[in-house]
Each structure stands twice: as C-alpha cells, then as structure tokens.
Amino acid sequence: MKKIWSILMVLMLMISISSLAFADESEENNDEEINEETEKEIEIMNNSLGAEIRLLQLEKSITKNLLKGNMIVDVLEGLGYNTTNLIAILAEMGYILEEVQTADPEANDSVEVFIDLKTDARNLTTQFRITLKDLLSDVKYKEVKEQIRENLSDELQNYSKQIRNRIKQFNRNQIYRLYGIVGEGNNSLVNKYMNGSSTMAQVKLQINKMVNNKTREKKMKIFSELKKEKIQNKFHASTEAENAVKNFTQRETERLQKRLEQAQNSGNEKLIEQIQNRIQNIQDENGNSGSGNGNSGSGNGKGKGK
C-alpha cells in the first residue's frame, strides 16, 4: 500500500511540474507575440532618422484617429447621443499627440518614449471603440461606421508627404551602405530614386542585378554582412524593448499625473475623473500584485497593452 501511495505522489508531482512547464511556455509565447510588432518597428530607431520616421508615423496615426473620432462625435451629437465620455477620450488623445510632437528623436530615451506613447494611443483607441459600442446598438454602430469614411485631409496628406520624404532619405542611406559592402555603386540610380523618376521596386531590381553579377564568394560576403547587421539591429531592438518594460507602470503614472494637471487646467471634469480612475486602478493593481513593473509594447488594447 505504501508503495502505491509513494508512486501516486510521484505521479502527482510529475503532473504538477509538467503543467507548470506548459503554463510557462504559453506565457512566453504570448509575450513574444505581443512584442513582435513593436520590436520590428524599433529596429530602425538606432539612429535619429529612423526614430524621426517612427515618431512621425505615430503622430500621423494619432491625428488620423483624432480626426475620425471628432467626425464620429459630430455624427452622434447630431443624433442626440451623450458624447461626454468620447470627448474626454479624444481630449487625452490630444495630449498624447502633443507629447509625440515634442518628443526628441535624437534623445537617448526616444525608443522608450515611442513605446510608451504608442501603448497609450492604442489603449485610448480601444477605449474609444468600446465606449462607442456600449453607447450604440449593433445596427446603429454599423450605420455610423458606414457614414465615417477614410479621411484624406490636407493635414494627413502633409504627414504622408513628410514621412515618404524621410523614408526616401532612410532608403538612400541604406543604398549607400550597401554600395559600401558591395564595393561599387551607381549614383545615378540613387538620384533617380530621390527625384522620383525611379521607384523603390526598380531600385531593388537594379541592386539585385548588380549583386547577381558577383562571384559566389562575394555574394556570401555580402550576405554575411547584411545578416550581421540585421542581427545587431534585432538585438538592439530587443534590448531596448526589455528596458522599456522596466518601470513602465511608474512612467505611466507619471504621464497620467501630467495629463491630469493639464485636464485640471482646462477644467474638463470627465477627463479628470477618467484619469483619476486610471491612476487609482494602477495603484490598486500594484497593491494587489506587489510589483512595480508593468507592461509595455505594441498594446493589446485592454488596460496596459503589452
């Protein structure tokens, strides 16, 4: 009998250990999935041009959502709905836009700032969508969605132009770096790309042809150099992402405190209430978990999106 009991104990122990391993694995997979998009984006932020591109892209996305949000509020007000909560969310999104606009792409913490503000913008976008769904019936929600078309305002077009310009500069730098690795170059190709007479697809085709003419050894060397650079960028992005996760909750509370002051100055009661609730939630969560570290990253849309 004793033997049976000891074997049973061993069996139970094994099951507990294996279930722990399974739980751990699934948690790890989730983290990987969550951070993939943001990590990919910050790979180019190891220089100020790359950081400028990402911050400009974030600025454009927030502006686009703000314009759309205001259009939705206008439509709902015309239908007689109470839009106080939605207006408060848009007001905070406006603060985030200002923070992105004042962010310095050359600062050491530009990656951290990008991750923080992107997370905030994503979470507010989700909050807006959820609030809207709570406010409207499914049929009405679809009706309003059909009324809101993609906005092609001058402001957004101006952003697109600026971003395209910076990306062209980034790609030009990449072409020159590649020329350095290959050991030869074609300036007229770069000029054509910069003045718009050649597309990126044509440039890629020309580069592929140029590399294709090289010997097998040379191709191997080019491949190794490119791979090395890519791994370095990935490693850098991964380290930056890891660092950004540290003290995320503390930074989030500081950002919310700053926005709370702005809301108090503007006298927006609903926004004051919303921000105070969020600060309280963070404090409660910290009290419960006893951990100061929060989540950051690409945002899953609920709470602190990782």
């Binding site: 049976i4 061993v10 099951i15 980034f170 990126m200």
Partner: protein, 69 residues
Amino acid sequence: MDKKIITIFFLLIIVLSIAITFTTIKQSSTQDDIEDYGSGEEITDEDLYDELNDLFLSEDDEVEIGDMI
C-alpha cells in the same frame, strides 16, 4: 495489487513521454528559427535577395494603433 502498480507505472511513463516530447518539439522549433549559416549551409540567391529587400522601408509603411470604429 500488482496490476494497480503496473497501471500507475504506465501512467507515469505516458506523462513523462508527453512532457519530454513537448519539450523536444518546442526546442527544435526554436532552433529552426535561429538561422545559422555558419555551418556551411547552402545560401540560395533567394536568401540573399530577401536580405537585400529587408534593408529598405516601404514608403507607405505605417505605425498601427487600431481603428476608432
């Protein structure tokens, strides 16, 4: 009594096998993700072109924060 012990042993072996298989599959898939070309593995032109294409950003590239509706 002996039958019980044998059944429990079999169960133990099954659980252990599942745990080991899972760990092995997980490890091998992780290793597949790490591209190691240092061991003389053949690099195709396609691999090289993929690396070349990855150097550049699409001019329509965007940072996604989700839709408002």
